[in-house]
């Protein structure tokens, strides 16, 4: 066995998830038929539960374009796409020498960009749905009373 190129390309979690999906991995019922091995399924389960489950190619392309003005390293953009930080504290960990390279305003702008372009992950999704439901029922109540 000869290693020709150990770093032929970096993949985002979404790309690996897409690859497994195209092989036929799905959630629960299809497990028996798909030509995907059990170990690949474990990876699929992990990725489905991470921030990658709601992403698409267009979203990722859009995000990479929006990040050009922040002067981030490729690895940092990859890490952000994979973990989808939703606050300044989390972004601070990902970016090396964050306090030297970026000021507070820039960090805030980056968090805004992330929140707008990248779809949120399960935990925040549930609370967002609940908030939407509460707002909708409040609106209905208001309409009925007025």
């Amino acid at each position: 066995m000869k290693i020709l190129d150990s770093k032929a390309g970096a993949l985002t979690n979404f790309e690996v998830l897409d690859l497994l999906r195209s092989r036929g991995a799905g959630t629960d019922p299809t497990r028996v038929i798909a030509s995907v091995s059990p170990s690949e399924f474990k990876v699929f389960d992990y990725l489905e539960n991470s921030a990658a489950c709601n992403q698409t190619r267009e979203i990722i392309q859009k995000f990479v374009d929006a990040c050009k003005k922040f002067d981030l390293a490729k690895a940092e953009i990859l890490n952000i796409i994979n973990t989808r930080p939703s606050s300044g504290v989390e972004v601070y960990q990902i970016i090396e020498d964050c306090d030297i390279r970026m000021e507070e305003d820039t960090i805030h702008e980056l968090v805004e960009t992330i929140n707008q372009i990248l779809p949120s992950h399960q935990l925040t999704n549930e609370t967002a749905d609940e908030n939407n439901e509460i707002e909708e029922t409040a609106e209905e109540n208001n309409e009925m009373t007025s």
Binding site: L4, V16, L19, L20, E40, Q93, L123
Partner: protein
């Protein structure tokens, strides 16, 4: 987390696979040889990305099987130092934490790399298990298995394969199976640790 690696491998195709179409047979052989195995310096092989070329098909004298030289790309799981990953707590002992990604279990966070200051409390339910609690601003934050834990990759090591099995007859604990790839993580930093601490 995931990288593509290009590999060239001399693959021996056993005769009982001769009735299958070549691509399928080669993919099956590659899967059984590489999938879920750790290659040193490259990481854990997740899946075969694509097969770029198949050459050869020679039959060596005295052998019934044909040998092919295959060039293909594998998706490898190889976190780099400084990457932030979310994982679940698998066990918590006096030496530190052990986290799991579902497909990869050997992620250790030793005590010096836990968020500081921290103290431990023995867990009443499980023997040998210890709950780690972080003290910040007068409040106690325990690390329990409720939600995902974010950690930073501190180090990825590939310990050499042991030549002899250690005999631990005196110890009642079972000998841990050999882990070819070990990730050391760190929870020391803002934004790291259970997600609920920072949301």
């Amino acid at each position: 987390m995931f990288f593509l690696s290009e590999i060239e491998h001399t693959l021996r195709l056993p005769p009982y696979l001769l009735n299958r179409p070549l691509n399928e047979a080669i993919k099956g052989e590659l899967d059984s040889t590489f999938l879920d195995k750790v290659i040193e310096k490259l990481g854990l092989c997740i899946t075969v990305y694509d097969i770029q070329s198949i050459e050869g098909g020679f039959i060596f004298p005295g052998d019934g099987a044909s040998t092919y030289t295959v060039m293909f790309r594998l998706v490898m799981f190889r976190p780099y130092e400084g990457e932030i990953i979310s994982a679940r707590l698998q066990e918590s002992t006096k030496d530190g934490l052990r986290l799991s990604l579902g497909f990869f279990d050997d992620i250790y966070v030793p005590v010096p790399l836990l968020a500081s200051p921290v103290h431990s409390e023995p867990d009443p339910r499980l023997k040998d298990s210890v709950t780690w609690i972080w003290e910040y601003d007068g409040q106690n934050y325990p690390i329990d298995g409720a939600d995902e834990i974010r950690f930073r990759v501190h180090n990825v090591s590939y310990p050499p394969i042991p030549l002899e099995q250690e005999e631990e007859a005196s110890d009642k604990k079972a000998v841990k199976p050999f882990a070819p790839m070990v990730i050391t993580g760190s929870l020391d930093g803002d934004g790291l640790g259970p997600v609920s601490w920072w949301v």
